[in-house]
Amino acid sequence: DMKVTQMPRYLIKRMGENVLLECGQDMSHETMYWYRQDPGLGLQLIYISYDVDSNSEGDIPKGYRVSRKKREHFSLILDSAKTNQTSVYFCASSFPGGAEVFFGKGTRLTVV
C-alpha cells in the first residue's frame, strides 16, 4: 500500500512553542521533502532529504530544521514557532532522478 502518512493533520500552537511535524512513507523512497503551501503561492520547498542524515535546504529553510534518522521517516521541526509559519505543510517522497513524487494529505498548522 503506497502511502505517505503525516501526523498530526491539524495543529494549533502558540507563538514561541516548538512544533514537530512527522512524516512516514512505506515505499522505501530515498528522497523525501517538506513543502509549505500558502494561498496563491503554490508549494514552496523547505527541505529535501536524499537519504538518512543527508539533508539539504530548499528555497525557504529559515525557521525550520529537519531530522531523518530512518529512511522511512522524516520530521520537520519549528523551534519557537512564529505566526507567519501558519500554513499547510506537505511531506512527500520519491525515488531519485525525476520520478513521481507522492504526497501526504498535509498538516494544517495554525500559530496563534
Binding site: V4, T31, Y33, Y35, G40, L41, G42, L43, Q44, L45, I48, Y50, G58, D59, F90, A92, S94, F95, P96, G97, G98, A99, E100, V101, F102, F103, G104, K105, G106
Partner: protein, 112 residues
C-alpha cells in the same frame, strides 16, 4: 523565480469544453510533472513528460513539452465537473536527484 508570469491563475469553463493550461519555466529541465490537487488533499501526479517526449497522453489528458521555448501545456478534452481542481506544473531541477519545484498553479472550475 523559476516561473514565467503568464501562467494563468484561474479558469472557469462549462462541462464538455476543452481547456488548455500553460506553464513556462526559466531553468532548463529534463522532465515536467503535472499534478492535480483536490480540495483538502495533497497533490497527485497526473502526467510526467520527459525532454525526449514532445507529447504524452493519458485518457482525456494531453501534455506537451517544448524544451526550446521552455514551456509545457496540459490539455483536458471534454472537461467534466470532476476535473475541478488546482493543476500544477513542476520542474525537476536536478538530473541526479529529484528536486521538484512547483509553479503557482491554475485553479480550474468546471461547471454544469
Amino acid at each position: 523565480s523559476q516561473w514565467g508570469e503568464e501562467n494563468l491563475q484561474a479558469l472557469s469553463i462549462q462541462e464538455g469544453e476543452d481547456v488548455t493550461m500553460n506553464c513556462s519555466y526559466k531553468t532548463y529541465t529534463t522532465v515536467v510533472h503535472w499534478y492535480r490537487q483536490d480540495s483538502g488533499r495533497g497533490p497527485a501526479l497526473i502526467i510526467l513528460i520527459r525532454s525526449n517526449e514532445r507529447e504524452k497522453r493519458s485518457g482525456r489528458l494531453r501534455a506537451t513539452l517544448d524544451t526550446s521555448s521552455q514551456s509545457s501545456s496540459l490539455s483536458i478534452t471534454a472537461a467534466q465537473c470532476e476535473d475541478t481542481a488546482v493543476y500544477f506544473c513542476a520542474t525537476d531541477l536536478s538530473s541526479s536527484f529529484s528536486k521538484l519545484v512547483f509553479g503557482q498553479g491554475t485553479s480550474l472550475s468546471v461547471v454544469p
